[in-house]
Subunit: 663 residues, 2 copies
């Protein structure tokens, strides 16, 4: 029995596939068969086609002008892109580089796996985002911060693991176009600080080599205090010559050992991590120092914008954590080096089920930016509750920042289309672990798959991605495929309904971030408050409140500032609203809270019932594993429903119009 | 420099003490100088008198009929008791046994240390409680459950420590009359299960020997599942012959190695610990099985009554955790063996700052009982906040259970006076650790000292005990002594004022039990709810509610059942009360909440200011250590004040009459 699954690369036999002959032979023009990426691409072709179609693709002795698979170099296609064109009895895969070939092969295998007809295939695709990254929050001891799928497959007890699972991981994420991976937690402590020392170079070299065979660059998270912790410097002030010299020497050694290293991800001045603020320097001074040191090696500094005061006094209603990213970074627009990228979380706070888009998108014009999303379901059900995140990501990408008359969406900005920046892209905090099925909940793999696909092609719809993933992962009747797709597509809304109402967020257990605790963050130091009393709830972030709404471009600022134009799903994020205020639906706020919580819990149950209907078509192990999670989701949804409803009933004294049970 | 202090046994020089000559010589009649307890008593005499008075007591060659210290056996005095009588130029210490001699010597040393005049000394004292025990919640890895004074001095990394600190510990607690110690946590897991195996016997023998030299019997906490975990039995059903046989063999081995072992403390069927309920047996069947096995060796089974459902649904208003002890045990009155003692927490729930007395006291007549109190300040400030607990313990001991027309107090019951039971007494969960000063906060040592003194003599007042402790511990002017005494005496009330109002309890952070979290336990599984809404709060435990009040004897049941006769400090424990209800003071409930919280925080500050006044008279290290804790207490009190007031203001909408700042 296999120790781990192959997810969407399971390559189940495809019966009666009409175009099997397309794959009998292949030719290679302008590429070396021995190039590691080409070798892996061909190996994958052989494995996939052999397994699915029972055909072993052979390298043709001579060129096959008409039949088979013709792979050729075409430098007119953009970097990493490829075209696929069916012609006569064969297909031509053209690409400007080896990675394009790899991605093209995976595309073909995907089509076969989906039983798609490729007779009239004609595709040209180039990745929209130059950087398509995964961030692992894995610790050297093997634990994973906010991990819900077992332990790390990169680290165990202070050691780096290099094995077949790493290779399969590289295949999986390579197949969806991921081209960069940060393997260690952004909170760099203890052993992880040593990743830039000899102690770990041999293993990192092997890891980098495996990755690069699948077009993936290795990145590391960096401890900004390394000069003190490793170098014995008395400071890590980025303007201190001793510190700079220390970094120069250290980075020279690192790149000697790891020449293909992509660069570093840095969480500085955040939640207790050291950073430039400690020395009265700004974030640009911190990032640029590292950027200058990395420049000769082509290394990137990916600098997180998650900088805020995490020791706020709950009594303080002036300070607003939502403002912090913009306040700390926007005035520095243009001050960062070309090889610095600011990595910005989708929302201004922290991966809640509903947040507005960070005003840094569209706020900064002359700064490289990456969007950071989280497919690890920290606040979105922890891979117990079903929560397919593509609808949320789509909303973020489609958001009009109003920074230009056109090409003003987040997708336009991070792809570089809006301002012409080059080092741009998208990153996701990853949801994998060493569980047999990689993602704990089998259905959570849709988020990993979907993220990669969306990172490549931001025009894909949530439904398209779900359909692709389902078809490749399961073997279901068309009707069941539709049912599962619809489960995925509604799951985020269901989760939102039974958790925090109307964008308020943070009614979650403070420690593990699973399950309700309405006041759990209300009197804490984290800047996360709902401010409810006997009359109403919500945070006034308008020009009469914290002024956060004014961080947006004018059109959006005006929209958010007015409760009548503010999108209702974000109403409580921007406004304090009385329980008896009528919403657009005609319901009062309190009745909306009651209704949505009853609905959400009931809909969670419906999703679980849908899963039951799929039982006979599913692998029993998968069926049971997900079923158990639906059981827990139902309990969780009921707990949310009852706690949130009881909390607001007890506080408002206003009964449910429908007289349902509230405690 | 010493690694640890000697607390009240510091034996500072006493200048110009008039009766030094009383101690120049001693004689021993009817006791062997080489008996371990006598040896220790004489050693202590030599140490203490030498250090305090600069005199070395010499064994007189011949009897000294008039002068010096005459120690003689007098079997007319009750076990462990002693008399002290000044006659002419000397003192006679008469005792029925060696322990009496030891206690008498410590009494004399206490008097000298307090500079008391002993010229007309005439004392006869016998301990009121046969068993005067300390329970340590120390784990084998060295951690202490709910410990606030460092790590364990009994265990480290799975090993037992036997060293000078153990001896000093035995001296300290022997000096206040403690005669039994449980060294390991009642939650017995992992290595601790092995304490009844060869693995630990050699060290336990040494420990037992040190203890017994100071009149202290060693006890162990026992894992009820040992037959399964150690013996490979398939069950730990107390009625299973295989289980009984296993215990018989094991206990025979234990007593062969540790013949002086006092017996075992057992936490069964509680908070996840295994017990007889698992097998459909009642608590008596579980305890009696062990008692029968221990009988031949004179061993005791101390069986905790802390048995309740810890997976309650917060929605359930029928189940009442406060009822659980009585419900589980009272009907078993008379069913327990003579060598079983039920150990009953002072209140029905769990060591809150204010609870009624457990109705098991006075409820059971034919069962040996021990009162369990907690000097480890789990819910009472964690040895950061000052909370002198004698006033609380006094209230418990003085409580009239109304089980008889006279001799009906808890003190009467646990001493055996009420029902004539013999294996009776009092135990405290201990507050020590390997901190230099033993108890984290130097002032928390008053609780250790006071518990021992009170366990011996339940007629002592809180003030008397405080005065004794202060005089022996510090070297203060009479005025400063009074000030410190008053700080101690008011501290419990201050803590109560700024924490949970009127006996409701449980508004504490659920994990560490320090600091406020009004709703922290409100939606949890622990059976600990305040049930507040926009109109009022409190739990109805009357005959119209959970019926808990009816577990008391009739007079008390009636008193608690009626909000007009219910003691106001317990009002919310027994009744749901509206915010606008007037209390006896004429204030509304909500105004009382506001006022007491403002007062409590302000009084915490006053106590800290008093400490400042003592600075010049204190050891600088002690001064600083306590000062730092007062700083934290002030912050804690302000946090309690603001969170509790804001919570109820937001929920009730009723403003503070005095217009003070509420958030």
């Amino acid at each position: 029995m296999q120790e781990w699954t192959q997810l969407w690369l399971s390559y189940r036999p495809v019966k009666a596939y009409e175009r099997a002959d397309f794959f009998a032979e292949y030719t290679l023009e302008g590429f070396e068969a021995e190039h590691p990426v080409i070798r892996n691409a061909l190996r994958e072709l052989t494995l996939g086609i052999g397994s699915m179609l029972g055909v072993k693709p052979e390298s043709a002795v001579k060129k096959t002008p008409a039949g088979g698979l013709r792979i050729r170099r075409d430098t007119s296609i953009g970097s990493e892109g490829y075209s696929l064109k069916a012609e006569g009895d064969g297909i031509t895969l053209a690409a400007p580089d080896e990675k394009g070939v790899l991605y093209g092969i995976f595309h073909l295998l995907r089509l076969v796996s989906m039983k798609a007809d490729i007779a009239s295939l004609d595709v040209l695709t180039e990745p929209e985002n130059p950087l398509r990254m995964l961030n692992h929050w894995d610790n050297l001891d093997g634990s994973i911060e906010r991990g819900y799928s077992g332990r790390s497959f990169f680290f165990r007890e202070g050691k780096i693991l290099v094995n077949d699972r790493i290779r399969d991981y590289a295949r999986l994420i390579g197949s969806i176009g991921i081209n960069g991976v940060v393997i260690n937690n952004v909170n760099v402590k203890g052993d992880a600080t040593d990743l830039i020392t000899d102690r770990y170079f041999p293993e990192l070299q092997k890891m980098a080599e495996i990755f690069s065979g699948y077009g993936i660059r290795l990145f590391l998270s960096l401890n900004f205090a390394s000069p003190m912790e490793l170098g014995g410097c008395g400071t890590c002030d980025p303007l201190d010559p001793e510190v700079v010299t220390w970094w120069e020497r250290r980075i020279r050694t690192v790149y000697k050992a790891l020449p293909s290293l992509g660069g570093f991800l840095v969480k500085a001045d955040s939640e207790g991590r050291p950073g430039p603020f400690t020395y009265g320097r700004n974030q640009a001074q911190g990032a640029n120092m590292l950027a200058d040191v990395l420049k000769p090696y082509g290394g990137l500094v990916i600098w997180r914008c998650f900088v805020y005061n995490c020791t706020q006094d709950w009594r303080d209603r002036i300070t607003d954590r939502a403002r912090a990213g913009y306040d700390n970074f926007c005035s520095l627009d243009g001050a960062f080096r070309d090889n610095v990228i600011l990595q910005i979380k989708n929302g201004p706070v922290d991966f809640q089920i509903r947040e507005p888009v960070s005003p840094l998108f569209g706020g900064m014009e002359h700064t490289n930016q990456m969007l950071e999303v989280q497919i690890a379901q920290e606040y979105t059900g922890q891979q117990i509750d079903l929560c397919y995140l593509m609808p949320m990501f789509r909303e973020v990408l489609d958001f009009h920042t109003c920074c230009r008359d056109e090409k003003d969406t987040v997708a336009d900005i991070i792809s570089g289309r809006t301002f012409g920046n080059t080092n741009m892209g998208i990153a996701a905090v990853c949801n994998t672990g060493d569980d047999k099925n990689w993602t704990g909940n089998d259905l959570a793999a849709a988020n990993l798959y979907g993220f990669g696909r969306l990172a490549w092609d931001m025009s894909l719809s949530s439904a398209e991605i779900a359909e692709e993933w389902i078809r490749q992962t399961f073997d279901l009747s068309p009707e069941s495929e539709r049912m599962l797709r619809d489960m995925l597509l509604r799951s985020r809304e269901v989760y939102e309904k039974y958790t925090c109402p109307l964008g308020i967020g943070w009614m979650v257990n403070p420690l593990d971030h699973y399950g309700p605790s309405v006041d759990g963050y209300e009197y804490s130091r984290w800047g996360t408050y709902h401010r409810s009393d006997h009359l109403g709830l919500g945070v006034d972030r308008t020009d009469k409140g914290t002024g956060y709404a004014q961080q947006y471009r004018e059109t959006n600022a005006a929209m958010y500032n007015d409760p009548h134009t503010c999108p209702e799903e974000l109403l409580l994020f921007f406004h304090r609203v009385l329980y008896e205020t009528r919403l657009k639906s005609g319901k009062t706020l309190i009745q909306h809270i009651y209704d949505s919580h009853f609905e959400g819990a009931s809909e969670a149950k419906e999703m679980a019932e849908c899963w039951e209907k799929l039982r006979l078509e599913l692998d029993p192990e998968v069926y049971e594993r997900v079923r158990e999670r639906f059981r827990r989701q139902i309990r969780n949804a009921e707990e949310w429903r009852d706690q949130v409803n009881s909390y607001f009933y007890r506080k408002s004294g206003i009964p449910d119009e429908k007289g349902r049970r509230i405690y």
